[in-house]
Amino acid sequence: MLTVKDVTLRFGGLTAVNNVSLTIKQGTINGLIGPNGAGKTTFFNLISGVYTPNEGEIVFDGVKLNGKKCFEINHIGMSRTYQVINLFRKMTVVENVMVGLHPKMKSGYFSAILGTKGQREEEKEVLEKALDWLDFVGLRGNAYEMSGSLSYGKQRLLEIVRALASNPKLLLLDEPAAGMNSKEKEELFDILRKIQNLGVTILMIEHDMKLMMGITDYIFVLNYGKKLAEGTPVQIQNNPEVIAAYLGED
């Protein structure tokens, strides 16, 4: 469903992503790992439209993404979370999810100003849907709190569900477990499975190897912007080059 071909991105003299190719299969949970500064987040920014690659091609669901803007890529069916939490802090929890549902809404500016029946009904539906999504990650009880006041782990869950609300085909998660305690990580594990069961394909960056090895079907390894290896968790764990890259870091 996602095919990345020989993609390169340079920041001035630094080649942050160097000639990377990979293919992601529908319905799978994929991991993207690598030492700090390997270019993982930059790779996410490339496929989600924040940057346009200097070289190479990104094809998602049959559509070439090069040069498309973030919001357009979201409309095609790819949604993401961020390594640094990027919630709408002074909006309520449920409003954050409603923003996630924005691309699904049909009524326009004038129907809003006139308060037409159709618009009011759509608003009601979207609110219900957003509350259902909050149930999905167990945040319904926090629906009317400011999102900025949630605990760190809950903020991470809210980011995930905000991204899920637009019914993406591919979900990109940038370190979803960062800052979570072990209980929250267990919950996250279950939620990821539930997301997979919805038919959503996942590509996630994560430093927690236990979580990664336990949940992913397939893993890609980046090092210094280059793809070092790919394979099943077992293959990756036993790959001497990968072990060397991680040992070299520590």
Partner: protein, 314 residues
Amino acid sequence: MKLKSVSKILLAVLLLLVPLLFRNFNYGILICGFIGIYIIAISGLDLVFGYCGQISMGHAAFFAIGAYGSALLHKYLHLPILLTMVIAAVIATLIGALLAYPASKLVFHFLSLATVAFGEIVYQLVAQSPGGITGNFTGFYTDSINLLGFKISTNTRFYYFALVCVCGFLLMKHRLVKSKEGRAFLAIRENSHAADGMGIDVKRYKIIAFATSAFYTAFAGSMYAHYVRFISPETFSNRQSVMFLTMLLFGGTASLSGPIMGAAAVLLLNEGLRFAERYQMLIYGFMLLVVILLMPGGIYGIIKKRIDKRRVVS
């Protein structure tokens, strides 16, 4: 809930009775009319600044486009005044959208510079107009609003007219901010990268916010023109833009009632300090500093904090 609707009815009755209460105090009714005008003007500014997080330091330009646009259309094309007000506001909306199109890419401080420049350009055009059609510094006389033969020529009549307009514009604002558009504005203010990632066309919504805001402020400008029946460039200088921002920040942004309280408070203060008119800018500057440093949410913010606290206690 019940208490709320009772207080709403009381407020409505009170507002309707203002001219009666001020029966022997025409000046009071006059000021209330101006408060209405400013509520509309800064409610518009609030959409772009408070909700969408885009600064405009040149909103006096839209006030001017509304005022001069309506007055000139009436004089030269002999169109009925209510129609000219709407046309002028629509023109301002289009100009707002045109300005916002390139400006939507700018970051905060460059945007503020661009809007200052825009304000200055419109001011200069009004003060030194081609062919002197605006009357330049001499000013420009115009007529009262004419509602199908009924002239809004007294302060009391204008008060009711303004009351209807304020209700209409506030209702529109309320609906807009509670809709997907309003959420898009807030999302852009809170985190434009994440808004983009969530499928919001950030540029488009910035333009929508700016254009809507131009409509509000321009309509208020046209109300001003036909209330005072005389306009001159000094009303539309950057002083006016600063006053708009002072009112909005003092009352509190991103709310319905903030602009109401801000407009009322600053106008009343203005009147109270008539004798110190030449220190006006100094006073605004001081108020802005006080608000920014000591009461960042404005009057609305202070009241809201009180209410929230009480809610937590009970």
